[in-house]
């Protein structure tokens, strides 16, 4: 009987906490803050200005000068990331052309398991205008529950520097206007 109770307890643990057992973190949760993600400040002046960052060291995403940051977790090797890259570029253009959101919504991409060379190749292949960062050793990918790609996370940043995740989406989008509407509503920008 004791053996059976132990078995059931073990079973519950396995189903309830597989991520703990495997050393993985869970996927980003709405309402929670982002895990600590440190990125290198871009060398590119245009990207540095776009993000409102100064210096040449590292930064954390809530330091970006914006009310909302959309993070795309992508991979150069992922066929859906390739297919949807033009739509994400269109989203960037829509935001940049919008008087309301140009300074309030920024986009960055993080290349899961991609080297700097691979991220740069992806950027050139699709003429991606927003900043992309390599996550070669998958350390960021591990912190966000090893999500499939593409995966989008929208984070609202408060004036005091705190942040909370307002939207997540697995998979790409075909209609940038609808996606932007969703982000605007979920983040309370309008």
């Amino acid at each position: 009987m004791k053996c059976l109770i132990n078995s059931v307890f073990f079973a519950i643990c396995l189903f309830a906490f597989p991520n703990l057992i495997y050393g993985k973190t869970i996927e980003p949760q709405i309402g929670h803050p982002l895990p600590d993600i440190t990125l290198k400040i871009p060398d590119n002046d245009v990207h540095r200005t776009y993000l409102g960052l100064k210096g040449s060291d590292s930064f954390q995403i809530p330091q970006i000068r914006s009310r909302v940051v959309i993070i795309e977790i992508f991979s150069m090797y992922c066929p859906h990331c390739q297919r949807h890259a033009p739509s994400v570029n269109q989203l960037y253009q829509r935001i940049q052309k919008s008087g309301d959101f140009r300074d309030k919504i920024k986009i960055i991409g993080i290349g899961a398991g991609n080297s700097p060379f691979e991220v740069d190749f992806f950027r050139k292949s699709y003429a991606i205008p927003f900043p992309l960062f390599p996550d070669t050793d998958l350390s960021i990918h591990d912190k966000i529950g090893q999500v499939l790609t593409p995966y989008f996370i929208a984070v609202r940043i408060e004036p005091d520097g705190t942040n909370r995740i307002v939207y997540t989406q697995l998979g790409g989008f075909n209609n940038p206007d609808n996606f932007l509407d969703t982000i605007v509503k979920r983040s309370g920008l309008k």
Partner: protein, 199 residues
């Protein structure tokens, strides 16, 4: 006790399935279809070829129904061979879509790419369909099982190939060999750097 072991085994297997398919930033193109074999012994074979030697010739069937021989590129094209261990596994499933995007690098260096796996044709057909339109030939080294992989010395003891790259120049000479840790995708830069040396 037997019941405990059985229940535990079933649950561990279930959790492995739940957590499958997340390594290396895997695409959602495959969600729900990828079998994760877990972390494997990094390499499990001994190379039988080396740079500077003529590449062993072979003829293999492609998923497009052609018979492709290495010798048909002699004097015409440089050849990159990309051996992957198995279809429907995490790292392999994103490797060739990356090479699909990298087509310009191969063209710039007058090179063709041949993707090779020990899986059979129907399996490779179904799997590569998820990747979109591949510009390169995908060849099956299924029968005699893994014979070409074995010629190159990259057939593992469990019957799958290593994750390996070979570059062969227009004279049929091997210029580059690379056997990766099977759990890790090689950096695209590796291929580009080696192709640039062929100029």
């Amino acid at each position: 006790m037997k019941r405990y072991i059985l229940l535990s085994s079933i649950l561990i297997f279930a959790v492995l399935l739940i957590s499958a398919g997340t390594a290396m930033g895997l695409s959602d193109a495959y969600k729900g279809s990828i079998y994760d074999p877990g972390k494997l012994k990094p390499t499990d074979s001994v190379l039988k070829v080396k740079a500077g030697e003529p590449a062993p010739d072979f003829t293999l069937p492609s998923i497009q129904g052609k018979q492709i021989s290495l010798r048909q590129f002699r004097g015409e094209k440089n050849v990159v061979l990309s051996f992957i261990p198995a279809a429907w596994t995490p790292v392999c499933s994103d490797q060739w879509p990356g090479y699909n995007l990298a087509k310009p690098f191969f063209e710039q260096h007058d090179a063709v790419l041949l993707g090779i796996s020990v899986d059979n044709i129907p399996t490779l057909f179904a799997w590569t369909l998820q990747m979109g339109d591949l510009w390169f030939d995908v060849l099956s080294d299924f029968w005699p099982h893994g014979a070409v992989s074995d010629k190159f010395g990259i057939l593992r003891s469990d019957g799958v190939a290593e994750r390996a790259l070979f570059i062969i120049d227009k004279q049929g000479i091997i210029t580059f060999t690379h056997v990766s840790d099977i759990n890790v995708r090689p950096d695209l830069k590796l291929i580009v750097t080696e192709l640039e040396k062929l100029r």
